[in-house]
């Protein structure tokens, strides 16, 4: 029983670590997409952020400056996306893909030019990384059965960005559903004409939405290179931006359900790593290939059977022009 508990706890612990960038990116996508801007560039912004964070942190030795750098770079890429498809009414998917390609190439090129390590950045240590924090009282309650273990192993002992990611979700909910900005944000994604008629600038609102998205993508990127790992490695985002986008759609563009979708994807990934080569009761040892396919199989089943129709914001993907 205690061994089972240990395995479950360590799996949930890994779930939290793996889901963090997904959650941040999904919330980023939520801001952008609820305002009517398709954000397929989450992946690229996260990757650029990861590079910026590792580069700044390795030069200055400060993880927090690295985080600022990541946010700055990700926001400027968001603004580029905004400039192309808000101001100039370009195709949002094309612009997003362009951002992904740009980030994938530019990070490696700059990495080679600056650090001469084949696109990697130097290994970071000490203050240049976000290290795990032990929450108060974690050691004291460690020996309390079940609850103590849950608190000291599962909740305590993560780095600052993990906690930040989980705080982001209620904050996003509050901003989108409880503030005037959020009301207008949702309105501009459903019916921009109405917002314009009310005398509110559609462009400025959408720009603010993509800036929010850039901010969160930057944090996700910094998490990848300065918290979860200790350097930037080319293509280190490895499709997480797309998975986050899928989780957002899975979660019907709502913060709480998107969070659950991110945790589900993270849990499946953590489970794959842990169950490989471990004999299960009744079934015996499961082949590694089946374990690796499990997340995809479950996603298909869940999408087909359990999740209802996902309705996108009405004006998503349509550039707004006053004349029409």
């Amino acid at each position: 029983m205690s061994e089972f508990l240990t395995i479950m706890l360590s799996t949930f612990d890994a779930t939290i670590r793996v889901s963090t960038p997904l959650i941040l990116c999904a919330m980023a996508g939520l801001f952008s997409e609820r305002s009517g801007i398709v954000d397929i560039g989450l992946e690229g912004k996260m990757l650029a952020g990861a590079f910026a964070a590792a580069a700044v942190a390795s030069v200055t030795g400060s993880a927090w400056l690295g985080l600022l750098g990541a946010i700055g770079v990700a926001i400027s890429m968001s603004l580029l996306h905004g400039f192309a498809c808000i101001t100039h009414k370009g195709n949002q998917v094309v612009s997003g893909l362009a951002i992904n390609i740009l980030a994938s190439g530019l990070t490696v090129t700059l990495g080679i030019a600056w650090f001469h390590q084949g696109g990697q950045t130097p290994l970071l240590s000490g203050d240049a990384r976000f290290l795990s924090i032990d929450l108060p009282g974690a050691l004291a309650v460690e020996n309390v059965p079940v609850l103590g273990a849950i608190y000291s192993q599962l909740i305590s002992g993560h780095n600052a960005l993990v906690y930040l990611a989980f705080i982001t979700v209620p904050v996003t909910w509050w901003v989108v559903y409880q503030t005037r900005f959020g009301l207008r944000l949702r309105a501009v994604g459903e019916n921009p004409q109405a917002v314009d008629t009310a005398g509110i600038s559609v462009f400025w609102l959408r720009y603010r939405a993509v800036i929010c998205a850039g901010l969160l993508c930057g944090i996700a990127g910094a998490y990848l290179s300065t918290a979860q790992n200790a350097s930037f490695i080319r293509e280190m985002s490895a499709g997480k931006g797309y998975i986050a986008l899928a989780a957002l759609i899975f979660g019907k563009w709502r913060p709480k359900t998107a969070l659950l979708a991110c945790l589900l994807f993270g849990f499946l990934e953590a489970l794959t790593v842990r169950l490989e080569g471990v004999p299960l009761p009744l079934i015996g040892e499961v082949p590694a290939q089946l374990m690796q396919a499990l997340p995809y199989i479950l996603t298909v089943i869940l999408l087909a059977g359990f999740i209802g129709k996902a309705t996108a914001p009405k004006a998503i993907g349509i550039p707004y022009s006053k004349e029409r």
Partner: protein
Amino acid sequence: MKRQLIMLTAAVSIASSAMAAELKPAVVFDMGGKFDKSFNQGVYEGVEQFRNETGIKYREFEVTNPSQREQAIRKMAQRKSNPVLAIGFAQATALEKVAKDFPETKFSIIDAVVDLPNVQSIVFKEHEGSFLVGLLAAMKSESKAVSFIGGMDIPLIRRFNCGFAQGAKYAVKDIKVISNMTGSTPSAWNDPVKGGELARSQFDRGSDVVFAAAGGTGIGVYQAAKDAGKFAIGVDSNQNHIHPGTMLTSMIKRVNVAAYNTFKGVQDDTWKAGFNVLGLAEGGVAWAYDEHNKALITAEMKAAVDQAKADIIAGKIVVHDYMSDSKCPSL
């Protein structure tokens, strides 16, 4: 006199240009890239040493996609590069095709066997080196559990795994050996995030020394070991310097020497086609002992590992080669 001098200078210049034209070495790195701090980087260091010593430049290509391998090797041969050095087991099929089309070009391949009259195959007895680091890991472990993380699930990596397990069990009979592979595609060589997660899961299951034979994926494993205060063992290149204090040792494969010797051999005309098997006796594999891990290796451990090394060379210990029968009695 003047005419003679002119003729002499002409002859010298022709000779020297012919010399320079003769040796145009090329190297094709594999997935993971030449800065993987491991296997490919070992080759890179070897060919760089050759360039620094002789001043002869070499052509290079880093494969980033499996379909590029044949194209890259063929391109090198077409551009009259000679010798062409291919890195990694995965380039064997591509090299075999190209080598048949260019019988005049000398090809060398590291980590694979291609049986052609113009190909030199350099392979290592990784199981022997892995045995030694397995023995060290078992002696260092306090939790009576050690673990292995492989890159792509291929027989070559299972050979590391098997040697490691045999070495660990040779030192401590009832030790637990946990094994994981990162994946079944070439991307498994460059996935440090997954490597770190695998290492953490092994630590949760009791392991306190982890050996990674996984190319660039290993960087994540070593980082996870450092963060968790456990020990890690590097591979291919001497990786002790990455995290002094938690890198117990490294299983060195002298790919740098192999790469250097290939170029040098062609230059000195001592290069021969055929097989070249490098084990402990030939100094092709070794365990790393330097200023970074001196404090971690006790005198007792050093004596045991030196004894085991002598016994393997003398044939008293037979390390099982997974690739001979696709079985591992120690796992």
